[in-house]
Symmetry: C2
Subunit: 160 residues, 2 copies
């Protein structure tokens, strides 16, 4: 009896179209499937009787083994949770990129809020990489991460 | 400029040892690395000056491409966020298992709170699978999912 693999990470969003504009339009992810769900099994799994969900499954192009599930609770919209990452129960999702500096400048120009500028990891198991936190349209934290091994192909400022 | 792949999902936890007892001791995940972080870069990335983190990286045995990062903000413990999955900003993480019924009975016997019993997915792209939501020690939602393709080998009814 053991876990076979990780299937997906899910976020609850307040507006699926707005989230798709971010994950597809800004981060370049692909929509694998999109559906409205209101079958009885969803009420049972989620614990919300009569639930109706707008759902989209998105993935990194070329990556087949991990999906991001975006769920809008149309019938039971809840209050947003505070997004600070020091609060137990909050999560984040981390994507590997080749050129963090270019991503940072592009997304800042498009109005995406970042916690900091791209930052060199100076200690620990990820030493030599660069990372940054940003917030999605619901305040969910996304980390963009450029491994040390990929820094040779990145912008000049990332090499210093 | 495109995302290369998904690296990890991170959860903020209130007590790393308690969370490891759950993810390692109950779900059978492996600890890849464990470290205490207080370097300056962590303050910058997280936005918490002088932050000190207890961190563990755990993974599904045999799976090399997705890590779960558990982060305890020792220096800046925040208030827990409400865990209901209808709140925008909340997330969940889904694992594939072979025998959902066995997992359910084992974890219930060990006191893990579930939202429902294992439930057959009757519609949509995952039709024929079974799924259930449970809560980790901080109330973070974990989904266990048994694909339709794995149901032949699962469940006591299939074995007897």
């Amino acid at each position: 009896m053991q876990i076979h693999r990780t299937l997906h990470t899910g976020f609850t969003v307040s507006n699926l179209e707005r989230s798709l504009a971010f994950y597809r339009g800004m981060l370049g992810m692909e929509v694998v499937a999109q559906q409205v769900g209101s079958a009885e099994y969803l009420s049972k799994v989620t614990g919300f009787p009569g639930v109706r969900l707008n759902m989209a499954f998105v993935k990194v192009p070329g990556e087949d083994d991990h999906v991001l599930e975006l769920l809008e609770y149309v019938s039971h919209p809840g209050e947003p949770t505070p997004h600070e990452t020091n609060r137990p129960g909050n999560g984040h999702l981390c994507f590997v990129v080749d050129d963090l500096s270019a991503w940072y400048h592009e997304l800042v120009a498009r109005g995406v809020p970042f916690v900091s500028e791209p930052t060199l990891i100076t200690a620990g198991v990820n030493r030599g990489a660069m990372a940054v936190y940003l917030r999605d349209p619901d305040g969910f934290t996304i980390e963009l991460y450029q491994p040390a091994s990929r820094r040779e192909t990145a912008g000049p400022e990332a090499r210093t």
